[in-house]
């Protein structure tokens, strides 16, 4: 049996009295793609933040390529060591505003002692070429459109060649045209991902995009995964009433 890129068993997280995540179990093969659907407040973002340890889980076990990195609320490595392997892109514009796009892309490499200077510059150029942001490299984030900024943010997350890439509603703050633009970039990333055997978890409201992009789709309700199916028959297989309503509502939405 080949080892899962990411293995989540019994993950739970609470904020005070509120249980945000309850007994989450997930397994993601290398190069696999999973889309997470669910209403706002269902725990999708918290799940992603637990996976890269921006939030500390309360219970459960997390494994990266078979290596256990978190049991219960005990983190077994330095958080930054894990986060280098698990990239996260957030929904808002999160480029560093005081740096040019090129400096943004280069930032993580520059502050990573093991990186070779020439290699890291090559890496930035290569990503800029793939994501078609070469002409944006010298610009500051404030001068970018939403779609351009998100493509640059995606490129930045790929610079360290993470094993897992988490994308948190990265199209939510955008207009329809920019959404197409960013979706194009994500599809391009899938090619990079399959070359690097990088697994992707994508949180989105765009059901049709999820179906076309991901291998598997899971539906989160009240902090639990209530449905998980292969994307080819997800829409037909949904039984949970909340999930059915969500899919109905979002399947025919524009974009």
């Amino acid at each position: 049996m080949s080892e899962a890129a990411l293995q989540v068993s019994g993950l739970s997280k609470r904020y005070g009295a509120v249980e945000v995540l309850r007994n989450i179990n997930l397994s993601l093969p290398p190069g696999g793609t999973l889309a997470l659907l669910g209403r706002s407040g269902s725990g999708k973002s918290t799940l992603l933040k637990c996976l890269n340890l921006l939030e500390t889980p309360d219970a459960g076990e997390l494994r990266l390529a078979g290596q256990r990195y978190c049991i219960g609320s005990n983190i077994l490595f330095e958080p930054w060591e894990i986060r280098r392997e698990i990239g996260l892109v957030l929904q808002d514009y999160s480029l560093f505003p005081n740096m040019t796009v090129a400096q943004n892309l280069d930032f993580a490499l520059r502050n990573n002692n093991s990186a070779n200077r020439r290699d890291s510059l090559r890496r930035v150029e290569e990503l800029a070429f793939n994501l078609e942001i070469e002409d944006l490299l010298a610009r500051y984030p404030a001068s970018l459109s939403g779609g351009q900024a998100q493509r640059c943010t995606l490129a930045r997350a790929l610079v360290l060649r993470p094993k897992i890439l988490l994308l948190d509603e990265i199209t939510s703050a955008l207009d329809p045209e920019s959404i197409q633009n960013v979706i194009g970039a994500i599809e391009c990333i899938r090619n990079i991902a399959s070359n690097q055997r990088m697994a992707i978890i994508l949180v989105t409201h765009l059901v049709r995009f999820a179906v076309s992009f991901a291998d598997e789709i899971a539906y989160l309700n009240g902090g639990c995964i209530v449905e998980q199916h292969s994307s080819t028959n997800f829409v037909e297989s949904v039984r949970h009433s909340e999930a059915q309503r969500f899919v109905e509502a979002h399947l025919h939405a524009p974009t």
Partner: protein, 232 residues
């Protein structure tokens, strides 16, 4: 034909600025003392304030420093000046007493530090969470995040307010005359005592302040409107 009575009186005032010709060296020295007080209190106070801004965000220690800071900010500068001037440095620390100049410099520095700590703390709190989360998600350690992400944001956030305070310090330094620091206003008071030309003396001093402050205001405006400032 007679001029209007009001005009008449103005014209009848016997203006005499010539008496101050011999005061130029004293005025220049006074101006330099004002500038020195401003520089020392602004730079020293900012450094001190930044150092205190970090513990201000800690649990337990933070609120304690916060209360002391709030209390000290409630004390008017003129009171601080007297407190530092009359503080028995010799008896308490066994040090030589503070000169009028250093009492003023320290009082103004403390006042600046109080405000800087508060300004910087607010600016640190204003760094967007998504920016910090993104930086951490790139596997960065806390030090480079502090240095290259938080500090540039805080600088841009706090600088306009701080510069306003620095310009304020130049004007507030005039209060140091009450403890006998020989800055601009002190020189003016001596000149008034010797020449009995109060109005002219104060006009002269007002002009000197305008000449000193205006370039600073223009410079502050340029920084505030610069492209560099917009990168936050």
């Amino acid at each position: 034909m007679r001029a209007s009575p009001r005009n008449d009186r103005m014209l009848n005032y016997d203006w005499n600025f010539a008496v101050f010709a011999s005061y130029w060296p004293a005025l220049l020295r006074g101006a330099w003392v004002s500038i020195e007080l401003t520089l020392i209190s602004s730079i020293g106070g900012t450094a001190l304030g930044i150092i205190f801004a970090f513990p201000l965000r800690l649990p337990i220690v933070g609120p304690v420093i916060g209360v002391v800071n709030d209390a000290m900010r409630a004390v008017p500068l003129i009171v601080l000046l007297f407190l530092f001037y009359y503080f028995p440095v010799g008896q308490v620390f066994g040090l030589p007493p503070l000169s009028a100049f250093w009492a003023a410099a320290v009082a103004m520095m403390v006042a600046q530090a109080n405000f800087t700590a508060e300004i910087v703390r607010t600016a640190i709190d204003a760094v967007p969470h998504r920016i910090l989360d993104s930086a951490r998600s790139l596997g960065l350690k806390e030090r480079p995040i502090l240095l290259w992400v938080i500090a540039p944001h805080v600088t841009r956030q706090a600088l306009p307010t701080l510069i306003a305070f620095y310009i304020g310090n130049l004007k507030l330094s005039s209060l140091a005359s009450v403890i006998g620091t020989a800055e601009l206003v002190y020189v003016a008071r001596i000149a008034v005592g010797q020449t009995y030309r109060s109005l002219e003396a104060w006009i002269l001093i007002a002009v000197v302040y305008v000449v000193l402050v205006t370039p600073c205001t223009l410079f502050a405006r340029r920084i505030e409107r610069s492209e560099w400032m917009a990168r936050r």
